[in-house]
Subunit: 230 residues, 4 copies
DNA sequence: GATGAATGAGGATTCATTCAT
DNA sequence: AATGAATGAATCCTCATTCAT
């Protein structure tokens, strides 16, 4: 009977998780469409096939539901992205994997991205202020890991001798804006096609290659900023 | 008497504008702290020294107040930024001016930036959906102007023969993320110091200059992506 | 100078009355269109060309304005109607004059009638409860005067030996409903054309004349109610 | 279980209707006392033993509550009245039944009558303008049915060859005013006692029967209007 | 006297959360 | 365990009235 109860409990447990996940999935869509305040517990209940009271068996309240939803997804997202990165060896392949997986994630989780982009970060209640901090923490960890990759690349002389933080800012910024632009505009083209674009710009920058063009000026700021003046 | 009344009306008019601006300023701070929904008209009234009813002489409602606040500031922001750009002649100075003025604007309008970053874009009501579209429109216009600058740079051979849109995405992305990172982190360092960082990364990219290092491979993707593998 | 001031005061007085009347006239239209609550002091001010504060020189508040408006008009109405009646000598001419002047008054004061018909009589505040009583009082006086006319008619054997109150109820009811029907329906036909209709029905009733038709049954209820059964 | 749930649902349904009716009943009293605007949702909630929010399970808002209240009652009223009429065969009995049931309805639904008499018909909002039209529509239907009865009476030679509309106006007018007078005055006497009064006046009019009195003049307006002058 | 800006009480409505069934 | 009816605090907005200018 111990075995039996154990099995029963396990099944219950599994079922519990399953239902919880289902609620989160439906809520994700609703929050993405309407934002936190515009979405009501009644709508979430309706949409997920539960009763209003039933939701409270899985979550202690609306804020917790929202926080858990966002945090779970944020962690999954960064894990998935960094997982792809860690499978690679060379710095360049890592960076390429980073861009690819970032883009793939948006493309496959549009609702979550819309939710995240539309997330009102200045929320006043304690629970949601906390959420904001947690999201930022995860983001910071993500940045740190990227800095690690880039720092390694610098040591390997694949990247220039700049502050890893600066390189990370640029890389993340370019990736983030491509994602934003894609989300905000009519999705004619796939984001995945832009991977090479991003890599090209991140690695080689916007200026024509040295030695080509009016003359060679050596690396550095001076060249970059005054080249045209000549 | 005409003169007298005219003067009076002008004074009233000026005072009206002044008070309205004052309300907006206070509201900006509150919205930045708490978001749209968490901020009440009563708080705005309290904070700006008006009665609740008084606010309605200046704005037809909370949504209008918020929308006007955001749109006025967004337009001012882009105008100020692009104004600085247009004073420059060379492409490189234009781009440098763009970065500088972007950064300066954030530094001088922290509250507004926090508001904009925390702006919940998934708001359901007609008025706020409209606001979202207007913000995006202004943003698109801004991007288009930057594309113009970059397109010119391409013609002048100061920038590589890439799609202006791609260059713009990269530049805006890097700028935006620097701003975001600065807003979100303890503001030890000034953002203005980072201008050269951004320019360096945007123009020259993350890879070491060609012709320096293990060998020269000519420009192009191949080099960029496989250099390390060698 | 006494004379002078007296003249001045008189002029002021006249002007005061004139302005007051003008306000009431404009307010009448607004109240007729929108009812008491839907009409704001600001609208009345706007419509009558006064400032909001200015209205309070003539009336101590909205309820008083409304009450005065209604009571003055109600009294004028009944006075005008009964004035026409009193000019007549014979009972029948008096009754005819009553109908005519009732109808004429509606036709010439549609706004006021709409106001009166739309008047919410169950108002809770002391001032408006009082108004309701006053209107009823005037109405009762009007009914009493009509009863007087009708009582006289009974004595003169021009009217049947019924209770004057009953005759009055019938007459007033018929008149009132004609007015109501006319106000509520597309005003194709003029109400004045209906005067003879009303008189015919009031005097002679709906049943065919005795002695004409299947047989004579003598006056009285029996005939009226069982005639058809035969 | 189907049976069980079905029973349960039915019980719920019945209870829902019951509570809804209870709210309407209490609201009727309050609206009758204070009119639409003076009555607050809080009062209705208090009076009917619900919480404020609870009312919104039954009605989508105050206007809907009011509209439903009025329309349901208006329809019931006319149905009940005309139901009594339709049970009769002869025109005279029909008319008598009409008067009786009109009077009975007022006597048994004083609150509703007060509400209807005090109903402010000039309400500005869309919902209440609509209500006004609906009330008028029902009234028009009622008038049309009465015209039908009277038209039939004309064909049966029980009523004079006048326009059915005119006869209807007179009958309805007399009935309505008796009701109004009764509602507005201290209710010493019962309205039902007045039925014969009304019928006598409607059928035979106010003038003495022809052939009785100073002389016989034959039927027609001339007699009616100039009799006294002779 | 005249103005109209300012006040703020008051009311309809929403919705997260609870809890009796 | 599950339900969903009930609660009532919280919020936006209106507008009669006042009063400084």
């Amino acid at each position: 009977m111990t075995l039996h109860s154990a099995g029963k409990r396990q099944r219950k447990e599994r079922e519990f998780r399953f239902r919880r996940a289902e609620i989160l999935e439906r809520a994700e869509k609703l929050f993405a469409d309407g934002g936190f305040h515009e979405t009501t517990m009644a709508e979430i209940a309706e949409s997920s096939g539960f009763s209003i009271g039933g939701l409270y068996r899985f979550f202690s309240g609306k804020e917790q539901l929202y926080s858990i939803l966002v945090m779970e997804k944020v962690r999954l997202m960064y894990d998935e992205i960094m997982g792809a990165v860690e499978h690679e060896e060379s710095t360049e392949r890592k960076i390429r994997a980073l861009v690819i997986s970032h883009f793939a994630y948006v493309e496959h989780h549009i609702d979550f991205y819309r939710l995240l982009v539309g997330h009102e970060s200045g929320l006043r209640t304690a629970g949601l202020r906390n959420l904001r901090e947690q999201i930022l923490d995860e983001h910071r960890k993500h940045v740190a890991r990227i800095e690690g990759v880039l720092g390694e690349g610098i040591q390997r002389r694949v990247l220039r001798q700049l502050a890893p933080r600066s390189l990370a800012n640029a890389l993340i910024g370019i990736i983030a804006y491509y994602k934003f632009a894609w989300i905000m505009n009519p999705h004619g083209e796939s984001l995945s096609e832009k991977v090479d674009d991003v890599l090209e710009l991140f690695f080689r920058g916007a200026a024509p290659a040295a030695g080509i063009g009016p003359g060679f000026h050596g690396p550095g700021k001076e060249r970059t900023l005054h080249q045209e003046a000549e």
